[in-house]
Symmetry: C2
Subunit: 354 residues, 2 copies
């Protein structure tokens, strides 16, 4: 910075001002400084800047996965809001590991982010305490918490799992299987929702559920379906914890000559892009990933730019929508979308699922 100052014939402090608060500096100096910056290819040391100003312009984001198309949309939305505001997003992928998450949070706090966005509401006690004591806005996303650390936007996965199952039941299916992969907490809740529905509907799920401890992939969808079929011979319908498994199950049906949806209906979860492109197109429970990211980022921006004024609404349930497509049989309602919902304790939400 001193070099730039010398070249522009001003003091270093003026350079700092020209860069940070251009309105405090005369037009002419501003130009001289900018020229010098150009010539010398000067890049301010962000670390020193952050240290001196105690504004790091960093927001930390923890995601449990990147393979998953889900988090790409979500991250993209966050960046779209934060980057234009000059805020750098620090992403850490903790691969569905609570202990990696704990470490990641600790490491991130060492960078003194101005806010943190974490996925899910199932942080360990230590993670929670770290976040709570960080003294910065925290947003938990993707799931709804009874007692959020700070702000919270998400949806109720138990209800969503319940609704998907009930949807298949209403279509006339009784032997409804559930396939699930590595048990991230939200997938487990969807499973719980399935189980709740089966119980309430008086159906046994005996032999109809298959799960794996490994992270999900398409192939696993086939494997898990095969497992269920080995148990129970046949099924009417399949609800999977995500779209990859649904796709795998769909292929397994092709392989076995089982017609979808005539013999078996399939419902996935997340409504990734490819769901509309399969044969038949996959019915899936659609979640508003981008909206969760956008909301989280905007809430944070409002707080850190708006003198700590907090948004009036600290909790949002974005709900879900069952996108009905060919894999679950002919739509029997007029619309493409059926069965949406927000969790009851958030019915005050100003934003119903659209």
């Amino acid at each position: 910075m001193t070099d730039v100052a010398n070249r522009a014939g001003v003091s270093p402090v003026t350079v700092s001002r020209a860069l940070r608060h251009p309105e405090m500096v005369s037009e002419e100096l501003l130009k001289r400084v900018n020229d010098a910056v150009q010539k010398l290819n000067y890049i301010p040391n962000h670390l020193a800047s952050a240290l001196a100003s105690t504004r790091t312009q960093i927001v930390g984001v923890i995601v449990p996965s990147l393979t998953n198309g889900v988090f790409d949309d979500y991250l993209g939305a966050i960046q779209d809001v934060l980057n234009p505001a000059g805020i750098q997003v620090l992403v850490t992928n903790v691969r569905y590991s609570e202990i990696e998450e704990e470490k990641a949070i600790q490491t991130m706090l060492g960078y003194h982010p101005e806010a943190m966005i974490v996925t899910g509401v199932d942080q360990t006690e230590r993670s929670t305490s770290l976040l709570r004591n960080a003294g910065v806005p925290i947003v938990q996303t993707m799931d709804v918490a009874g007692a959020p650390i700070d702000m919270n936007i998400g949806l109720d996965h138990i209800m969503a799992g319940y609704a998907a199952t009930k949807y298949l039941y209403d279509l006339g299916h009784r032997l409804i299987a559930h396939l699930t992969a590595r048990g991230d907490p939200r997938a487990r809740r969807r499973h719980a929702g399935y189980q709740k529905a089966m119980d309430e509907l008086g159906l046994s799920s005996q032999g109809l559920v298959a799960g794996s401890a490994r992270p999900s992939d398409v192939e696993m969808g086939g494997t898990l379906l095969s497992e269920v079929l080995a148990n129970v011979g046949r099924v009417d319908a399949i609800f999977t914890c995500n779209d990859d498994l649904a796709l795998g199950a769909l292929f397994e049906c092709h392989r076995r000559g089982i017609s979808v949806p005539e013999d078996v209906a399939i419902v996935g979860f997340n409504d990734l892009d490819f769901c509309g492109a399969t044969v038949p197109p996959l019915t899936s429970v659609s979640t508003e990933r981008r909206r969760m990211g956008t909301w989280a980022a905007e809430a944070i921006l409002e707080i850190i730019r708006g003198n700590g004024r907090r948004p009036k609404q600290m909790r949002v349930d974005v709900g879900w929508v069952i996108k009905e497509r060919g894999s679950s049989g002919k739509p029997r309602r007029r619309a493409d979308q059926v069965s949406t919902g927000v969790s009851p304790d958030m019915a005050h939400s100003d934003h119903e699922p659209s």
Copy 2:
């Protein structure tokens, strides 16, 4: 830090040493300090630490996409090497935009990373100059450069595209279509390889190529195939610039009652996980994503931990492998893998594709 020092009854400098160089401090003090750190939930300010020591422990990684399963493996590999070494990986997704990349590089350099890993070899002049002048190790990955900025690990996409096309030709196909999405430079090279093969084989590609400016997704595979079929009526084989398009094309074939591989052969690119799980399984050109990430990270680690000693080998061609599966017809060779290669100017590489 002062608080910790007070609580432990030592000077701040001792705390710093206990944390940074535990071997320089007596056992007893070390314990006292660690206890105090625990009690106070002290997290060192990484910014101050980096500023004072001029070791940021940061490595910057630029990726053009996250949707893509490709970059997840690659990033995971990089983190697996760097995180255990106490290095934080700063990731920026530049969404296939050169201008976003330029900005991202500039921003990252403000954090004074100890090394940078960038995807591809097609940086703008300004990006190149920024990287060159950063004074830290740079690795370009995924592609091979004639004149790399610094280190380089990748593969020759022209040759890979050529080989995939030639492979289909050798299977007896003549009407070989090529589907390609948003033109990232590597996809364009694969296209160029396809074109080169067609030219050399004396085949016309008239009407057989369809592309889109949008980022690829599964649905687009179907759309592009439809476009080609509208042009030319029928095709023998399809080579796509990635697996998403291959999957989409496969579904489009199902939809149209075209048998794969009897009527049409399909070859994708990248060999993502799902290729083995489709019906029929997709033949795809497999690339060593994890290995590229691992190599880049290890090369960097060696330099920044090993007193700047540079690895003997600065350029590596990892080649590719055509994973032959059902979608391209019966394997006519004994092995699952055929046609591999490294680019000729790197034939000296000590590591042939395995």
